[in-house]
């Protein structure tokens, strides 16, 4: 009992995480010692290289996963990190989204030579210090290391194999995001308010999650997912404790994915945060948090499905209906996209309901994990591109999200309006777009697992949702502008590249989703 055995860390399997972490630390050193003028270039280069290196390492790890029971993968980091097919798939997704996000972060043409982030975050809005920071063209290049740490948190969150790692990863992911949200160059009060709300509510939900973890530990005698699974399978007298523990942990996770009734932060934060941050966060956080949710439910709590499935079904229905209804009433594009993100959370949760025991899945049928992973991929790219396009539309006071100011955009810039229309159609799930394929997949697995009522409601809310996207399309193409027409700022190559890539992914996944779907299927199940 008293001997201390040195934990073996599987450095090879954890290489992607280590690269991201190392580059983040390097970024901090650059901030400390680098020359102010050169920092932006160095940081952008370092971030992009680091992310691409991590992506390469992820692919390398993914190609070489060992067999592990019926799944493929290995449990690394002394039992705390599961490196398996789904984890690697999500790592790759998050890293690609992060590359695109970094390109958006680095954009300096839209604001006339400075980035979208505050010159000096510590300066109070409206003071002399702020004006001085603005006139000197200061820039917060700390955003890049912050982003790297957040990416690290997301990757760890996805792979966390026990409740403590899950919590630590959640905090690593969230704290940098809280900061990033408050760093907008324009409308700083709104941005700071958003960050504050996000932080307070996030801290609150973390506390719930921690308490739930403690209860689960009390129930199972371990925080390890596999041990919790055994405890659930074995006959236990503490079902109440289990139920409360699961409920509290779910509160924390559902907060992160933005499901009703834990969604209240979403619109304020999406609107207030600098648009590049919103684009990155809305896409990558959702991917990571859903992967973590799937792992917890499928690995640790599979035997408890008869309790959490109805609850999640209810949350899914609420998210879809309330998200869609609230989105219809919005007059700001970013807020509308935020509520639509809540509705999409509901669709994703529908897919989560499709869990079937290994024997019940027909050999060639798509699995729930496959469907959700594919939906996350399609949604991540589409929403990132949508926010990126939204950052291009401006009037005298910087970015404008007000829907009535978007009227006549089709005449002013057919290209931008056309792109945005396509992305909206993809979000609405019109066939031949990636959104439809994703929707079909999650509906199918849910229906196949017997969650018919939820699927029917999902289908009906899809009809309502079309109206909401259509409203924007009508406004852009068929409404005459009130006052001066909106202008579209021509971005640099960075944003253009990010939009082009995300758009291309959305387009290709709508027409030929086969290879990616197969890939999501081949990753197999979570390891236990």
């Amino acid at each position: 009992m008293n001997t201390f055995s040195e934990p073996t860390l599987d450095y090879v399997e954890l290489l992607p995480l280590l690269i991201v972490f190392g580059v983040g630390l390097l970024g901090v050193l650059v901030e400390a010692f680098g020359r102010r003028g050169a920092r932006h270039r160095v940081q952008v280069g370092l971030t992009l290289l680091g992310l691409l290196a991590a992506l390469g390492a992820t692919v390398w790890v993914g190609l070489d996963l060992p067999e592990h029971g019926s799944a493929r993968g290995t449990i690394a980091g002394a039992g705390s990190v599961a490196v398996d097919g789904p984890a690697v798939f999500v790592w790759a997704t998050v890293l690609v989204l992060a590359v695109l996000g970094a390109l958006l972060f680095a954009e300096r043409e839209l604001e006339g030579g400075v980035s979208a982030f505050a010159g000096q975050a510590a300066a109070l809005p409206g003071t002399e210090a702020e004006r001085r920071a603005a006139s000197q063209g200061l820039d917060h290049t700390e955003v890049y290391p912050l982003m790297m740490f957040s990416v690290l948190g997301m990757m760890l969150f996805t792979a966390a194999n026990d409740l403590v790692t899950l919590f630590v990863a959640l905090e690593i992911m969230s704290l940098p995001l809280y900061l990033l949200c408050g760093l907008a160059r324009r409308r700083r009060l709104l941005s700071q308010e958003a960050a504050m709300k996000y932080f307070l509510l996030g801290a609150f939900s973390s506390a719930f999650m921690l308490y739930g973890s403690a209860l689960l530990y009390g129930y199972a005698g371990s925080v390890d997912y596999a041990r919790i699974h055994e405890a659930v399978a074995g006959d236990s007298q503490n079902d109440t404790m289990l139920a409360i523990g699961v409920g509290l942990v779910l509160v924390g996770l559902l907060f992160k994915v933005g499901a009703v009734p834990f969604h209240a932060w979403t619109p304020d934060v999406y609107q207030g945060a600098p648009t590049p941050v919103t684009a990155f966060m809305s896409a990558a956080t959702k991917v990571a948090a859903f992967a973590a949710l799937l792992r917890l439910l499928y690995v640790a709590l599979e035997g408890h499905a008869w309790v959490w499935q109805p609850v999640l079904g209810g949350v899914a229905v609420l998210s879809m209906v309330i998200g869609t209804l609230m989105a219809i009433t919005q007059s700001d594009v970013k807020r509308m996209l935020a509520y639509s993100a809540i509705a999409h959370t509901g669709f994703l949760l529908t897919g989560v309901l499709g869990l079937k025991t290994a024997g019940a899945v027909s050999p060639d049928e798509i699995t729930s994990t496959q469907a959700v992973l594919f939906y996350l991929l399609t949604y991540g790219f589409t929403t990132l591109a949508a926010f990126a396009v939204a950052s291009l539309v401006r009037d005298g006071g910087g970015e404008t999200g007000a829907l009535d100011r978007w009227a006549g955009l089709g005449q002013a810039s057919p290209l931008v309006a056309g792109l945005f229309s396509f992305l909206l159609l993809a979000l609405a799930g019109i066939p031949l777009t990636s959104g439809f394929m994703g929707k079909w997949a999650v509906f199918e697995v849910a229906a196949s697992a017997g969650a018919w009522p939820v699927v029917v409601i999902a289908v009906l809310t899809s009809v309502m949702a079309v109206w909401l996207y259509l409203r924007v399309i009508v406004s852009m193409w068929f409404t005459a502008p009130q006052g001066p027409a909106p202008s579209v700022t021509v971005p640099s190559l960075l944003t253009s590249a990010a939009i082009a890539v995300a758009f291309a992914v959305s387009l290709v996944l709508g027409l030929l989703p086969g290879p990616v779907l197969d890939l999501a299927g081949n990753v197999g199940q979570f390891v236990r």
Binding site: P431, F436, V463
Partner: protein
């Protein structure tokens, strides 16, 4: 040459045409390019029909598309598909010519590109033999249709287009639930596949069949349209330009009735027999109610749109009585209705351009100013009320025979519609064309295109558009045999399917 992808080329040609006309900058050239591609498509379709097709041996192409979903790029051309494909490729060039001048008012590039894309979608829908592919294109066709309505037409077009889209999507998404359900059942039975052939071989429980049937039927009923989900129709045809209405009502809506034959009867014969009493009632209500609504309209374009409600009632009636006469009648009714209603819409459109209003109460005596147009309207109107010697008569009489075979009461109610059709066709003619010479209506609140004072009776382009349609009406009125021969194998198969599995005869004879 049988490995050559004849059908894929048929579908791809209009897509290329859409891209080409969207990219050409010159206004005049873009229209010529678009028309060129539509003519090329028509020529290709005729080539395929004459050289590659025979009633016994259908063209088919099958390639795996998304293996995980069990979907295929699977196209096939049987007799039913063939006649609808030919109708489509003939109507689209005529529509493009008819919109030659209208398109200038808006953006001709957008109009030609969307119209060709709609054509491609329709062709794909009529030839798809994979349910997933069918569904995807069925839904996708709404995008070009939406932009055609909301981009061109009357002042209330945006609202009408939104209403159209939401109705159609609601129907389509209900169908999605059934499509998803089919996959689940197909996966349970073994390897999931969406090919119609594989699905038809599934042994479905009666309950499952009924639920799936309801999903499909609802979508097709909205599309067709059928009472009581028809309310988008009149608004859409009132606000859209008449050529767009031709695309909507004559081509796109056929997908609804086509789907009823191909999927409702083909995949769920038991459930179709089970639903027959309800569907036949809905069809009868559509026939009578549509005719009364048409009689009551003061807007000419709404009127023409609502006559189609009555006609679609006939088609659906013929499909669901599911006997030889009824099904054959319904199948060729689809083509004949396409020709007759296209002629009626286009003549009405030409007329509205001259009068400056679509309101019948403000028109009179136009046969003095435009005798040729009056003649065209009369022929098209008489075709709509199924005058013997014109094409719709053959199909309508077959449907009515089928209805009488089904039950005498059903047949009797259906026959009444002929009288009502005569009222809306002839009374409308009387109000518009007879009486003292017309006063020019200057400008209606609906912002119709400004009236050109000295426009001739009919222009060369307009004659060119109308003559083929009127010739076809007379031709198929006297010689319907080619159409009947083409569709007969399909209708025989359906009659056998429903007859084999469902006690339809008893069901109807009570």
């Amino acid at each position: 040459m049988n490995d050559f992808p004849w059908l894929t080329v048929l579908v791809v040609l209009p897509i290329l045409g859409a891209l080409a006309s969207a990219l050409v900058a010159d206004r005049d050239l873009t229209k010529k390019v678009g028309l060129g591609f539509s003519l090329l498509t028509a020529a290709w379709a005729v080539l395929v029909a004459t050289t590659q097709w025979s009633p016994s041996e259908h063209l088919t192409e099958t390639h795996a598309w998304i293996p995980a979903f069990g979907t295929h790029w699977a196209l096939g051309l049987d007799g039913l598909s063939l006649v609808l494909v030919l109708m489509t490729v003939v109507l689209v060039p005529l529509v493009l010519v008819a919109s030659w001048r209208d398109a200038d008012a808006g953006r001709p590039r957008a109009f030609f590109a969307w119209a060709l894309l709609l054509q491609a979608a329709s062709l794909l829908v009529f030839t798809a033999t994979d349910v997933f592919l069918f569904y995807i294109v069925f839904e996708f066709s709404l995008v070009p249709a939406y932009f055609l309505i909301s981009g061109f037409g009357g002042a209330g077009r945006s609202r009408a287009a939104t209403k159209f889209l939401l109705f159609q999507l609601a129907g389509g998404l209900v169908m999605l639930a059934s499509v998803v359900g089919l996959y689940a059942l197909s996966a349970q039975a073994g390897e999931p596949s969406y090919l119609i052939g594989d699905l038809a071989a599934l042994e479905l429980s009666p309950t499952a069949q009924r639920w799936l049937f309801v999903g499909f039927f609802f979508a097709f009923a909205v599309k067709a349209p059928l009472f009581p989900v028809h309310t988008w129709l009149a608004d859409a045809t009132e606000q859209a330009t008449p050529p767009v209405s031709v695309l909507l009502v004559c081509v796109l809506d056929k997908i609804g009735t086509y789907g009823m034959i191909r999927f409702c009867l083909g995949l769920f014969p038991d459930a179709s027999a089970w639903a027959t009493p309800v569907v036949v009632t809905m069809a009868l209500v559509s026939i009578i109610y549509g005719a009364f609504l048409a009689i009551g309209q003061d807007n000419l374009l709404r009127l023409v749109g609502l006559t189609s409600l009555s006609h679609f009632g006939f088609i659906v009636l013929g499909i669901f009585v599911a006997n030889d006469a009824g099904l054959q009648g319904a199948a060729i009714y689809m083509v004949n209705h396409g020709i007759a209603t296209a002629a009626l819409f286009l003549v009405a459109g030409f007329l509205v351009k001259r009068t400056g209003t679509a309101r019948i109460s403000q028109m009179r005596g136009w046969e003095k100013r435009a005798p040729l147009l009056a003649g065209g309207f009369l022929v098209a109107g008489l075709a709509a009320c199924s005058l013997p010697g014109l094409a719709p008569f053959v199909s309508e009489i077959l449907v009515i025979i089928g209805a009488f075979e089904h039950h005498w009461l059903v047949g009797t109610v259906a026959v009444l519609a002929i009288v009502l059709a005569a009222v809306y066709a002839l009374w409308t003619y009387q109000r518009i064309f007879t009486g003292p010479g017309p006063e020019l209506v200057l400008d209606d609140a609906t912002e119709q295109p400004a009236v050109e004072e000295h426009r001739p009776d009919v222009g060369a382009k307009e004659v060119g558009v109308l003559v083929p349609l009127l010739v076809a009406l007379v031709l198929f009125g006297f010689w319907p045999q080619p159409l009947l021969d083409a569709v007969q194998p399909v209708t025989d198969q359906m009659v056998q399917l429903v007859g084999r599995t469902g006690p339809l005869a008893e069901g109807g004879a009570q």
